[in-house]
Amino acid sequence: MTLPRHLAAAGLLLGAVSLSGAALAEQEAPSITLASTTSTQNSGLFDAIVPQFTDATGIEVHVVAVGTGQAFEIARRGDADSLLVHDTAGEETFVADGDADERADVMYNDFVLIGPTDDPAAISEATSVADALGRIADAEAPFASRGDDSGTNRAELRLWQQADVEPGGDWYRELGSGMGATLNTAAGMDAYVMSDRATWVAFDNRQNLALLFEGDEAMFNQYGSLKLSEEKHPDLEHDLANQWHQWLLSSDGQAAIADFRVKGQQLFFPNAKGD
């Protein structure tokens, strides 16, 4: 009868120790919380470049990867120390609103149009992305959209606008999902989908999908790093975050970005403005 009692006490002790252990661990290495996007995370970029940054500075980077909209919200609330997203218009508004002190170009990747190999809308013959999207709308071919207010989603909607098309109807399916999930669904539906190249290159569940259109400059996807407002959020790790920001723009950081390859392909192209 005493054994169960001892077990219970041991269990409670374990619980308390583990919880305090967790708290302790959080205080050890200097670190910043970086809000970024799922597509960037899923490409594997952070796994490649963050260790180089940590080696150089001893600072850990804790990446919270969410949709672009949520990333902005997290930063606005002061729950992240730094922000790296790909929505230049949104970033500029963010700065104008006083939530960030400045933004800087870091790198770009591009979007590609994916679709079923038999290409019912014949977009592989399109002359521009506007043309390609127009063909999809005309053919009313199934199109899977992320529909989640992410940077990719916002870019997609801008391209529809440029193509003079109001996407809607049965063939246009808004999924409210991340890039990988959207590709999965598109594969299952044999639908067209716009993806960032990085996620597509790493994507394993292609089924009947293939890359059908690429290269239009309109599909370039600019990444920006933002220094968050010291006035609005004085308690953030501005010092450490600034080291991260500067490293991204430095020749070391830019080289690390360029060196990152998946299946032999470079996915991100550094374009920080040199001083």
């Binding site: 967790a22 799922t38 804790h62 990446v63």
Partner: protein
């Protein structure tokens, strides 16, 4: 696909993949801690609900029962808003840490533990009430007495709570942020791999999660049965 899922799972386990170990350890730490803390509150709370009569008691019981169905993602959202720096408890800096995940899971698990404890203790009390009253045991004193006497049933209650905690993903995703090496647990890792299209790996992780939960359930069952046989 299930074939490659099983072989992936096996490969991870046999190779003692360090990432996997870290994720499994964190999952267990978070869920077990949450269940432990919730039990400390819920056991006496449930017992008190069973023993005392007061205005609003029925409302409280109905509310607890309803909260058993609280969607994890809603709990996560509420905790996020509370712990965010822009929120009332922001100064503690708990967001995106395992502690925040424990808080969210305590909120999820507490109603289940309390509601089920109340039920068990009320049943037991029906059997004991007259004898305890005859012996002059005060209501407050009955709480630890009945809780200890119901310990076998309470093991099952704990398991129910643990099941809910280890299975949920909505709460820990929002308040933890699924940060690699810091707040990534089994369920959020599965979501991540699925979103990357790594379905065999995702499924493999799912199998491992199921096995772990089954192991813990089995251990509790054996403990319970052993004690039951001992005590009658």
């Amino acid at each position: 696909m299930t074939d490659s899922a099983f072989s992936t799972a096996l490969a991870l386990i046999v190779g003692l993949d360090s990432d996997l170990l870290a994720i499994v350890t964190l999952s267990l730490r978070v869920s077990l801690t949450a269940v432990g803390i919730a039990a400390l509150i819920a056991f006496p709370l449930g017992a008190a609900l069973a023993l005392y009569r007061f205005p609003g008691r029925s409302m409280l019981i109905v509310t607890l029962n309803a909260l058993m169905g609280l969607p994890p993602v809603v709990a996560g959202l509420v905790v996020y808003l509370l712990l965010s720096r822009a929120g009332p408890l922001g100064t503690f800096g708990l967001l995106f840490t395992p502690s925040a995940m424990v808080v969210a899971q305590v909120i999820l698990v507490l109603p289940i533990l309390a509601a089920l404890t109340r039920q068990r203790i009320e049943e037991l009390h029906g059997e004991y009430a007259e004898q305890l009253a005859s012996m002059g045991v005060s209501r407050a004193r009955r709480i630890p007495t009945l809780l200890w006497d119901a310990r076998l049933a309470l093991i099952t209650v704990l398991l129910a709570g643990f099941g809910r905690a280890s299975a949920e993903v909505g709460a820990v995703m929002i308040v933890g942020g699924n940060i690699d090496g810091v707040t990534r647990v089994m369920t959020t890792a599965i979501v991540l791999e699925t979103s990357k299209g790594n379905l065999p790996l995702a499924l493999g992780l799912g199998i491992i999660l199921l096995v772990i939960v089954a192991l813990i359930t089995a251990i509790a069952h054996v403990l319970g049965e052993g004690t039951r046989r001992q005590l009658g």
